[in-house]
Amino acid sequence: MTAPVDEAGERASEGVAAPPGPMSPADLFFTFNRLALQGFGGVLAVAQRELVERKGWLSREEFVEMLALSQVLPGPNIVNLALMLGDRFFGVKGALSAVGGMLAVPLVIVLVLTAAYAEFSRLAIVSGALRGMGAVAAGLIMATAIRLMTTLGSNRLGRPLAAAFAILTFVTIVWLRWPLLWVVAGLGATAVAIAYARTP
């Protein structure tokens, strides 16, 4: 892979020392494993702290750019981000190491919890705790949505039109119960076409 050389070259020209990258695909695997195991209620915040602030594998700007791309592409954001970072340093092997490290152990844990929950769900205290956690999970996702709403102000569609598309998406999904395919093919294609016409 030539990417690390390019990165180092770019940084050197900015007068900043090249930060250390992962030493090997195994290093990627264990780093992503560790940050995934710290991520209760989502991994994104931990990933930012670990990859940028602690390891210095990415600058803040690089992290934000990678995150934006991983949001535009279909698939779980944090998985896409792991794929991109792994690919940058060690190609496909690195990409799969990063994702494997992030998913393997948490997958086993969550399935063990699921199996245990099936046995213990009749206990009021267990089903109660899960109800409470479920309500919080709903709140966490709503908070993420509210935080992202601020980006609509700078959206090239203009705030009213962007808000209209967000509301229409909500209505078609929640009340009309359209399949997502229709929503993305219909509303999504329309929004992208309008955005294209308004992009210089």
């Binding site: 209620g41 997958l107 399935l111 409470g132 956690m133 090239r156 998406t169 997502l180």
Partner: protein, 187 residues
């Protein structure tokens, strides 16, 4: 016990489940969670493989456990058809998006300033936000009613939103708070 929990799915049903998640993988713009409403429509409303409460519990378990939230997909698969179900939903969800991401990253990296790539991002942002709100709504619905517990759930949701937006408290503590409030029978 577990045989009762996992309705026996025919091979055709399993294939249908796998195919549905393959398609959703490519539609999951803004994250896998944005396709949760359509997973709900497919496995709860249309096929009745799991209940509304089981669906919400699946997502809550994945949120409570460490790791990426996308693991809720494996839990849904497990609740629908056991280990083979988890395999079908997880591989279905990850395979297409992973392949596309690897190809598109290299392609998009060279064209990130072009008109189409920028318009694509601009146009889909409002949909991503609409889908996230829909997901939050769908997750909250089974807990919210006019009982005392319903009021407790609403309070938990509001407190979570406010603390997430106003403070830097880790979501881990909010999840723990939810567990305690719920275990006490208040939500």
């Amino acid at each position: 016990m577990s045989a009762m929990l996992h309705p026996a799915l025919s091979n055709a049903d399993l294939l249908g489940l796998f195919a549905h998640f393959l398609v959703l993988s490519l539609l999951a713009i803004g994250g896998a969670i944005t396709t949760a409403p359509d997973m709900h429509r497919y496995v709860v409303d249309e096929h009745h493989w799991i209940s509304d409460a089981q669906f919400s519990a699946s997502i809550a378990i994945a949120q409570a456990a460490p790791g990426p939230n996308v693991l809720f997909v494996a839990v849904i698969g497990w609740n629908v058809a056991g280990p083979i179900g988890a395999l079908a939903t997880m591989v279905g969800t990850l395979l297409p998006s992973t392949a596309l991401t690897l190809v598109a990253t290299r392609w998009g990296q060279r064209r990130r300033d072009t008109r189409f790539v920028r318009a694509f991002k601009t146009g889909l942002t409002p949909l991503t936000i609409g889908l996230l709100i829909a997901t939050g709504w769908l997750l909250a619905r089974p807990y919210v009613d006019f009982s005392v517990q319903g009021a407790g759930a609403i309070a938990l949701i509001v407190v979570s939103i406010v603390l997430m937006l106003r403070t830097r408290v880790s979501p881990m503590w909010l999840v723990a708070l939810g567990a305690v409030v719920g275990a006490l029978g208040w939500a």
